[in-house]
């Protein structure tokens, strides 16, 4: 027994180990090459993940349980025992995921990216000042100011990035509120209500319909209890519970209730077997927190880009530092050159621009119901190559809906779209009249009051999922169901239970001439058929013969094969002589017939796909994205839904389908013939990673059914091994580890659990798979546009860098100052580069394959070379011409400028001769130098306009892409001229009539 207990806890233990590992993981990612050193440990950790839920309390008898947990099912624990256990095991609550302290997040922003380089620049500035100060105490503070400006740039961009991140995190804070929960518990033989947090193992708790189950409990006694396990297993149907041990797997057995699932109806008593983090949900939660956050593709791209630029900056900086020193420059000067080179090379504004660009897109996506938690995830969706989608709620509407009917030996299709408006099946048959009556009457579900104005499909219903489906179905077709029920007064009723497998009620009819009672019954089709001796065809009763029974079975199998839940319906008019109006029906003794009834029809229900999903799946296909369904639901249902939404396309078959078609054994089928595959969790369990890889590469259409949370994780990892960027959608707690592991986790906003939302990077506010397609489009667009932004920004770096290089080597007066460079980078260039984010797509981006994670880089060699060595050099040359022009026209021709640097900068030389023999003081030269800065700056600016225009497109002509139409530039020109002329006139009169009325009023 102790050994077993240890194993139960082992998952929890490894949970904490995982957390430690991810803490170190942050550092590890920087040193990818060293990763192999960690390999053995990582494998071990994967093994841990693969371990299935380990629990065996469901197999024990009550006596054994009492012994194991040292409790008594009648009296419960004593309060001292409970207090002791509480102290030992801690409160019954999930440990919240460990959060990075705000200050660490802030500091990370301060040292990430280019910040380090700029810090180095700032520190070099201060060192340079230190050297200057030690040589001459009255040296100018220029370098201190420059250092401060650089530090300020880093701090401001850091604060900006932090603010952006905090803003998106704050959106999440609203989801995190937890409602304190109470539990009804027996302790010291007394029933008492205590906060659920204080529950301990061994407590006896009572559950009623509507309660959230406060801990993992072994059910001891049950009265008609059904639970909603969808957040844990993905099954959309309510699961009946009983006290019997029915299945080896703790997730399947009926005598266990799971923490945080909801009891829909009935009551139950249970013994707490696990609390807090040791519950199944807790284990999954710790699994989720144990899974390291994958770096987003865009973060990798930006890091790659930062590495390139920083590499260029550092190597040129050091190269020229060495050159400067060997050219006998002073160390101080060399340091100042180094600063200049660093500042010129680092695109200071770019990371802020990228953040703004991403948040603009995030805003745009939020409008389209994609809420992005993590800014970088905006792009991830665009590079997604595999989407692992959950079924329930994402692909489907997450509500049972009538899909097919069978009566008169015919299958009819019901409309399953979101509003049910278009019911086209034949409603003229007499059988339908009877069937509709049964559907209406043999139903305990009711609309909550006060919803008359709400569309039928959106109304809130009290009752279970299938009854709700039937109620809404009949309300749509027949009108006011409650009125019909009122007219057909109910006299007796047997509710559905799992032993009977039917539901029955007896009504007075609304026909005043007919004094007979009507007995209506629905339930499991085979049970209903057993009770019938006749069948209704075209409104006429016919004996139930072998042929009709056969037809029934065919229809039943066909509907079942569609993954639908089938119900049978029958009725009987009780003869008036035997059952007069005053007859009292007793449901306990069953003083009425329950056999030889008349079979009316079958009705099947399914959680139907959302109407927008098939189109979205097609779009994903054409965008080269593979859509895989991963669900906890049954394979048949999963396959049916997959077929109806196009995840398995109409003409592709699974191995099983081929076998069935050719009537051969599954093993004989050539696996290459099948495009689609349906894999269950049981099969997946036995697969090696290599087999899984093979499966993922060989089949283009895959459905995973009956999967556990751990398996979802394995599937995601398998996809990532194929170098795919994986998006995972999900809503349940069971999805959260996979959501976290995925490159981008997408949670459902309406149906999603808090755990899922926490683990996800993105939330679909309308729970609609189709919104993902919008996201993909935006993501691809932003990747293209970021490329343009970066190309634009990088270009001028060369124009900023060349002046320093020329200055060092040729000894010209400095063409552009460091502050001026900062002014370009952080001033004039920011808005144009953000504007590029609004550029529309050049071609249909949804018709091309997703980018390859390793090959299609954001900043590739071509981009860098084209920006730096082609356009950048042209820009530098252009700016130099502007600079030389200013100097030549002021008196210094280019020839005299060469190697003039030392005298030029010597403040004691106040009679420097120019090309014409004129002599210049130091300050006069300095002023000219600033004019040169301006000329160079303007030179870059003017060429950046051209650069901006060319960057609008990468392939198309600018004229194809469309500019602002040229004629509009000239519309306001007359007014521009007017302003000019008017002002000249104003100034003329001021000069002509000083002191006049005009002068007093118009001179400013």
């Amino acid at each position: 027994m102790t050994k077993k207990t240890l194993e139960i806890y082992s998952v929890e233990l490894s949970g904490t180990k995982d957390i430690q590992q991810t803490d170190k993981g942050n550092g590890k990612e920087k040193y990818r090459g060293l990763k192999n050193c960690f390999e053995p440990r990582k494998n071990h950790y994967k093994e841990e993940l693969r371990k299935e839920v380990d629990l065996d309390d469901h197999k024990l008898s009550i006596k054994e349980l009492e012994k194991k947990y040292d409790t008594n099912i009648i009296t419960g624990l004593s309060s001292t025992q409970a207090a002791e256990l509480l102290a030992r095991n801690g409160p019954n609550a999930l440990t919240p995921p460990k959060e990075t302290p705000e200050i660490i997040k802030f500091l990370k922003q301060m040292v990430g990216g280019f910040s380090i380089l700029l810090w180095i620049g700032a520190i070099l500035c201060w060192i340079a000042y230190g050297i200057q100060y030690s040589m001459n105490t009255s040296s100018s503070l220029d370098n201190v100011y420059l250092g401060c400006v650089l530090a300020l740039v880093v701090i401001l961009t850091g604060i900006f990035a932090y603010y952006q991140e905090a803003k998106s995190t704050n959106i999440m804070a609203t989801f995190n509120k937890m409602i304190p929960q109470q539990a009804l518990v027996i302790r010291d033989s007394e029933k008492m209500t205590i906060p659920a947090e204080e529950l301990v193992v061994g407590d006896i708790v009572e559950i009623r319909g509507g309660d959230r189950i406060p801990a993992d409990i072994r059910l001891l006694s049950v009265q008609g209890c059904k639970v909603d396990n969808s957040s844990l297993t993905g099954e959309s149907e309510p699961q009946p519970r009983s006290s019997e041990f029915t299945h080896d797997s703790p997730l399947e057995t009926k005598n266990i209730g799971f923490y945080s699932t909801t009891c829909l109806e009935g009551t139950a008593t249970g013994m707490v077997i696990n609390t807090g983090d040791r519950t199944i949900i807790g284990q999954i939660a710790s699994l989720a927190s144990g899974v390291g956050n994958e770096k987003t593709p865009i973060a990798i791209e930006i890091q790659h880009f930062v590495h390139i630029v920083a590499g260029v900056a550092v190597s040129i900086g050091i190269l020229f530092f060495i050159i400067a020193v060997s050219l006998k420059y002073q160390v101080l000067d060399s340091i100042i050159f180094l600063i200049g080179i660093i500042v010129a090379n680092v695109p200071e504004g770019l990371l802020a621009t990228v953040t703004v660009t991403l948040s603009l897109t995030a805003k745009r996506m939020a409008k389209k119901n994609c809420l992005v938690k993590n800014l970088e995830a905006v792009e991830t969706l665009g590079s997604t190559s595999i989407i692992c989608s959950d079924k329930t709620g994402t692909l489907t509407q997450n509500r049972m809906t009538v899909a097919h009917l069978w009566f008169d030996n015919q299958i009819f299709i019901a409309d399953t779209s979101e509003d049910h408006s278009n019911q086209v099946f034949d409603q003229s048959s007499g059988t339908w009249a009877s069937l509709s009556k049964i559907i209406t009457l043999c139903n305990r579900a009711e609309f909550s009051p006060g919803q008359e104005s709400v569309p039928i499909m959106k109304r809130v219903v009290v009752g279970d999922a299938s009854e709700t489906a039937l109620l809404k179905f009949s309300e749509v077709i027949l009108g006011d169901v409650m009125e019909i029920r009122k007219r057909n007064h109910k006299v007796a009723e047997i509710p559905f239970n799992s032993t009977n497998k039917f539901q029955l009620s007896i009504h007075k009819t609304d026909d005043p001439n007919d004094q007979r009672f009507l007995l209506v019954m629905k339930g499991a089709p085979e049970r209903i058929l057993e009770k019938c001796s006749t069948i209704m065809v075209n409104g006429q009763k016919q004996p139930l013969d072998k042929n009709t029974a056969e037809a029934f079975h065919t229809a039943y199998m066909e509907l079942g094969g569609l993954g639908e839940r089938v119900l049978g319906f029958c009725h009987l008019y009780l003869p008036a002589d035997e059952f007069p109006e005053t007859y009292t029906f007793d449901v306990d003794t069953m003083n009425f017939p329950t056999s030889n009834l008349c079979f009316v029809g079958l009705l099947s229900m399914i959680d139907p796909p959302r109407s927008t999903v098939p189109d979205a799946v097609t779009k994903c296909r054409s965008a080269g994205i593979k859509v895989i369904m991963v669900t906890g639901d049954h394979p048949i249902t999963a396959k049916a839904i997959a077929k109806s939404v196009g995840i398995i396309s109409a003409n592709s078959e699974t191995v099983e389908d081929i076998a069935k078609r050719l009537h051969i054994a599954v093993e004989q089928v050539n696996k290459r013939d099948a495009k689609a595959a349906v894999v269950t969790g049981m099969e997946l369990k036995d697969m090696s990673p290599e087999q899984l890889d093979e499966l993922l590469t060989n089949y283009s259409e895959i459905v995973f059914a009956r999967t556990s949370p751990q398996q979802k994780l394995i599937i995601v990892e398998g996809c990532q091994r194929q170098n795919a960027v994986v998006a995972v959608t999900g809503d349940g707690v069971n999805d959260s580890p996979a959501l976290k592991k995925a490159d981008i986790g997408i949670a459902m906003g309406i149906a999603g659990s808090d755990a899922a939302k926490n683990a996800a990077d993105m939330i679909l506010l309308d729970d609609n798979f189709a919104s993902i397609v919008t996201g993909v489009e935006e993501g691809r667009l932003i990747f293209d546009n970021l490329k343009k932004t970066i190309a634009y920004t990088l270009t001028k770096n060369i124009a900023e860098l060349c002046p320093f290089l020329i200055y060092i080597i040729v000894g010209l007066p400095l063409p552009i100052g460091t502050i001026t460079i900062l002014f370009i980078d952080l001033g004039t260039d920011i808005i144009p580069s953000i504007a590029l984010a609004y550029e529309k797509a050049e071609s249909d981006i949804m018709n091309r394959k997703p980018r390859h994670k390793k090959k299609d880089r954001l900043v590739n060699q071509q981009l860098a070379i084209y920006s730096y060595l082609h356009i950048g050099l042209m820009q530098a040359v252009g700016a130099f011409v502007a600079y030389f022009t200013v100097y030549a026209q002021e008196g210094f021709k280019p020839s005299i400028l060469i190697n003039i640097r030392v005298e030029w900068e010597d403040s004691n030389v106040n009679d420097l001769e120019d090309s014409y023999g004129q002599q210049w003081t130091w300050y006069q030269r300095k002023y000219l130098e600033w004019m040169g800065y301006t000329a160079f700056f303007v030179g870059i600016m003017v060429q950046q306009i051209a650069d901006l225009i060319i960057r609008k497109t990468r392939r198309n002509s600018i004229f194809q892409q469309g500019l602002f139409r040229p004629q509009y530039w000239f519309v306001a020109v007359p007014f521009a001229i007017l302003i000019w002329v008017y002002d000249e006139v104003r100034k003329l009169f001021i000069r002509l009539y000083p002191g006049s009325w005009w002068d007093k009023n118009m001179y400013y």
Binding site: G33, V877, V881, D911, G917, T921, Y923, Q924
Partner: protein
Amino acid sequence: KKSCGQVVEEWKEFVWNPRTHQFMGRTGTSWAFILLFYLVFYGFLTAMFTLTMWVMLQTVSDHTPKYQDRLATPGLMIRPKTENLDVIVNVSDSESWDQHVQKLNKFLEPYNDSIQAQKNDVCRPGRYYEQPDNGVLNYPKRACQFNRTQLGDCSGIGDPTHYGYSTGQPCVFIKMNRVINFYAGANQSMNVTCVGKRDEDAENLGNFVMFPANGNIDLMYFPYYGKKFHVNYTQPLVAVKFLNVTPNVEVNVECRVNAANIATDDERDKFAGRVAFKLRVNKT
């Protein structure tokens, strides 16, 4: 996952891949194309640069600069030119001032009366020596004589005291920056004056004499027509001989030109129409 050997192997393959015949990731033709491309591209860029520079230089005249907006006020400068403009004279240590004397000898050589008489005109003092082109484009201009003898005790001619440096009575020469077509003084006489910067400096400075008398600068040396056409232009000088500077004290001296059209109060340009220097005569 990669071992050291593999990395080296990959590098080797990158440098020369025998299977694809690629050198540094490119085949021979690819290299040829890329080199050709850059040859043409940069050739064109160089040509473009040369062309624009040539066009630009065409717009620039040879004898006057296009703009002179930065040179509204000519600067003043001293000779001997020393580091940080500190004139330090150790009377007993001839080496300390010998370099100044050498520089001054060289500086004053073109002012020798013989050279001046040979090359330059004798002009009428008190008025500008204007030489209009008179229709002849860029007609070479003549310059006015400034004879070394005009510098009197500071001329250094037959001077055993080496411009006074050996006796602790140093001469400092003040000159005004050349600016093309600048009519200094606006047709009124102008002169240079020197004062101690602060009260104690004035005390320590003691007496001084100026050559030409009163520190006058004659108008005939203006305007300047640029070095290309005003070849033998001789810049007028003012020599200041400090007669009894308090020894072993640093004295801040400021000299400025008093002329109607030269502002000497520019806050930022400390050399506009004036010059400040430190004078120290060390005697034991």
